[in-house]
Symmetry: C2
Subunit: 566 residues, 2 copies
């Protein structure tokens, strides 16, 4: 008899529901519903481009629509489909995306007093307004608790839990005061489905806690009160109202409650897995295992690896986090990433591409790609840094920006488009090199996420620049698939699910295609990467000192050589 799992993937702009066959990973139906409020689901402040907030109600609205829609589609696709055969639900979300809640777990943004107050909403992962607080946390930890920083790459980010809470305290003390607790979205949604959002009883994700909230069992959970008091005395009291325990996503968060079963058109009592971040579950859906780097290529990028707990692992400077159990139980989860990848291309197409490339965004992308793919590496004479949204790994610095060098009076939009793709690939290679320098060997790279599914041109450039084959995950929606896998594992064999994540991966994941590197291109890109590294270090590190006189000249030389080769 067929068994299914439901994966729910809460992205930056929409919620996706995916119904998967546990026998073979076949994706029976999926549906995406955009968040209804804000600008594509995001609340911005024109005065401060650092701010990005969300409305928690949007998640619930879109979840309801997309689950119901997916069930309808599954029925249309297979008339024998029976929703009662869905045995597990897994949830992944963006993060760190915390929000303040009251004692009942009600988001403060839903309380009349805080209506329209951006600080009472969900502080979306890419909100960078807390950069000063992040610097303060880094400073204090460097002095008092270096072990905290060692596990998060040496620098605490403005994108993370404590930075956001401390900034909330600083800029909206009334919101902070009213907050009984702060809850990550990946913990909030399973709690809503399980019918109990009381902050004290919410099961918290080790993925969010470990990677973003400085949680580790080795130092007794969240940061100690003495440390927190050094940041702000009010955090001491808050600590008691957060959590003392966080667990892996193979664990149960609860069972689907009656109200939400009705909302979604499902049976009550379905097993709900503990939530985790999209990238981590995406890595599982892509088939992550020891030696595999999974790249989730989307608006931003997450790079995920795992290393067996018993092997031990050195701290890797600049890598976002190393957390026991955050990806697979029994493995240390390694998370790195680039703050903007697809977002850079979208920015460019929306703001700097004339209509001669097409009327719609899709047409523009298509024509940019067609023109850019006719060029050889270096032929455009350009080089870019991929820091339009700061640099997450390996510099962990949001106060960086984009850079483009090499433009002439003849430079065209598709040439810049190619340079921007290359910049993100150089950024990707910088991360691979850093991880390998610290003893973790990358045997294969599996790509997933939106850009992997629809951008062969980008994948070929990534292969050429890294000099490594780029594999693409069989699934187009690995995050939701990973969530479904955890739903099936949370259900366990007793409810016809899986005993381990590995067994579920074997049944449900795979590779669709492989892009092989071109050796000639790789040789040219090696020279360009050397220039990229010099710009990277010159603008991104305080220790660098040197000359850049050769950079423009080297790019011009390369351009001339590549053009003359025809």
């Amino acid at each position: 008899m067929k068994r299914y799992s439901l994966g729910l993937d809460f992205g930056t702009n929409s919620c996706r529901s995916l119904i998967v066959d546990l026998e073979n990973g076949q994706e029976l139906a999926s549906r995406v519903d955009p968040y209804p409020s804000g600008q594509e689901g995001i609340f911005l402040n024109p005065k401060d481009p650092n701010i990005a907030r969300q409305n928690a109600e949007d998640y619930l609205f879109s979840m309801r629509e997309s689950v119901r829609g997916a069930i309808d589609r599954a029925k249309n696709a297979d008339s024998s489909f029976d929703p009662t055969r869905i045995i597990g639900i897994g949830i992944d979300t963006t993060g760190s995306s915390p929000m303040p809640v009251d004692e009942e777990g009600l988001p403060l943004s839903q309380i009349h007093e805080f209506e329209g107050n951006l600080d009472a909403m969900v502080w979306l992962w890419k909100d960078h307004s807390s950069f000063a607080e992040a610097a303060r946390i880094t400073e204090l930890a460097a002095e008092k608790r270096p072990q905290f920083l060692a596990k998060v790459g040496g620098i605490y980010s403005s994108e993370w839990f404590w930075s956001k809470i401390l900034h909330c305290k600083n800029v909206s003390p009334e919101v902070f005061q009213a907050a009984h607790s702060f809850v990550e979205i990946c913990d909030y949604i399973p709690a809503v489905l399980a019918g109990n959002t009381k902050p004290d009883s919410i099961i918290r994700s080790i993925c969010a806690a470990g990677h973003k909230a400085l949680y580790s069992e080795t130092w007794g959970g969240l940061p100690d009160k003495e440390f927190l008091s050094g940041l702000n005395p009010d955090l001491v009291e808050l600590r008691d109202r957060l959590y003392s325990k966080a667990v892996s996503s193979d664990q149960l968060a609860g069972y689907l409650c009656k109200d939400w079963a009705e909302n979604l058109g499902l049976e009550p009592g379905i097993a709900i897995a503990v939530g985790a971040f999209d990238a981590h579950m995406g890595a599982v859906g892509a088939g992550v295992k020891e030696g595999t780097l999974v790249k989730i290529l989307g608006t931003s990028t997450c790079d995920i690896m795992v290393s067996p707990r018993e092997k031990g692992l050195a701290d890797i400077p600049g890598v976002c986090g190393i957390v026991d159990g955050s990806v697979l139980p029994g493995f240390l989860g390694i998370e790195a990433g680039q703050s903007a990848v697809g977002d850079i291309f979208l920015w460019f197409v929306h703001h700097l591409v004339p209509d001669s490339y097409g009327r719609t965004v899709d047409d523009k992308f298509k024509n940019l790609e067609r023109e850019a793919s006719r060029q050889k590496p270096g032929e455009h004479g350009l080089l870019a840094l991929d820091w339009n949204n700061g640099n997450r790994t390996i510099l962990v610095d949001v106060r960086l920006s984009g850079l483009l060098i090499g433009q002439t009076l003849h430079t065209q939009a598709h040439e810049i488009y190619r340079a921007l793709i290359e910049a993100t690939a150089f950024g990707a290679l910088t991360i691979i090199n850093r991880i390998e320098e610290y003893g973790v060997t990358v045997n294969e790279i599996i790509n997933c996420g939106g850009l992997a599914a629809k951008n062969p041109f980008l994948l070929q450039i990534y292969a050429d620049i890294t000099g490594r084959p780029m594999k693409v995950s069989k699934s187009d929606q690995t995050c939701a698939l990973g969530a479904a896998i955890f739903g099936a594992v949370a259900a366990g064999p007793e409810q016809e699910g899986f005993k381990t994540v590995e067994k579920a991966q074997q049944a449900m994941t795979g590779i669709r295609e492989v892009y092989q590197p071109d050796k000639n291109n790789h040789v040219v890109y090696k020279d360009m990467f050397e220039l990229y590294r010099q710009l990277h270090d010159a603008f991104g590190t305080s220790s660098w000192s040197g000359s850049l006189y050769h950079v423009m000249k080297a790019l011009i030389y390369l351009r001339e050589r590549q053009r003359q080769e025809d």
Copy 2:
């Protein structure tokens, strides 16, 4: 009785004819005719963006059209206008724009054998293909004839006479072999009008010779044969077929010949002044005198000053040239410039501005300007280098490129447009600072050229960045006006013209308006200029060594401060 002079201005893309009343400088009629062949008059090679050539026949075709058209317009404007009252003709052209000619002065491009051969055409001023030869000339001169370099800013440019001839010899020996001589366009056109193009009898311009061909009476004219033989033995023989004397534009090049009088619809025998470059005559038309910096703002920019011969003048490193009599007789002419200004804006609008700013180039410019003018300095967080076409002054280096830093995921086209204008203003300030450092005081700045006439937004930014008032010349076409002034001086009092250039300037030039600097903006721009100088030195000078870690951070800080000030 009315007296008129005819100014002929041969620009990069078109020829302009201007008929001016000698009594008051009133511009009776003008007409512009684009060159009929090439891409907007320019022959390009897609394999090598350094190449830019022209067809000498285009000059004659467009001259004929535009003079006849201007006469018709003058008649329409004033029924009493009598073309026989045109007493002088002056000619200005781009340069260094030399071409190979045969013994009769026929351009080689008009000989069947060389049809379609780009190397047999006019090597347009902005042709940069001769960079290697320029480097070789600089190297040899630095070793053997440092006095040559001292007068051209320390570096011999790829845009100049000898670089182009030597490159022609290297890449097209058959063209070089066939060339009896090489003639600058500013010498060729007066010779055509005077009816004698034999290379040996053409009167050569001191402006072209002194600024571009290393000509100086102090070392006996053109570079000596020993020096030339060090570049290439074949140049030694060529030297004898070039010229041994060059003169100022107050001198006569000849009198209008019968054929060309007929072609143009004029009387034979009109005085023709010796030609000069557009910027130098433009400076005269704008009213240049001691202490006045004239900026000719167009696709590129020329900065012209004069200093009395008897005062003497130190060599100024990086300034294109200091030549006795090249602007005004009795004064040392100082020429500096930026390789691209308007060209950078045109490049940006053509290639990187979406149609949301408008369908036409004009609409795009209008809307970019409207949006950009609403911002405060630094609010966009951007900084650019104005080197898309290399840097003429003060680095004298074509192997440089554009650079843009500070872009986020929210940066819009009008913000980049503003940053590009600012970059050219920072470049302008760098030139002013260099000239003043060497003892030439800038008391006033007069702007002319296309951008001065139609871009108040740009002029205000220039005033704010330099902290100096920006005056705008009364005439929109100062180059043609300057040419007309020289025509009237060449005619002299005996033919009802002027005795001196100064007297003609007093009668015929003036100021239309003045842009005053905003003090608050200037303070912000001082900080930005400091960052510009650091990038300038880091990428443009071999001696610089240091850190750039602060640059992105400083721009972000400035952006935040300026946005919060509302």
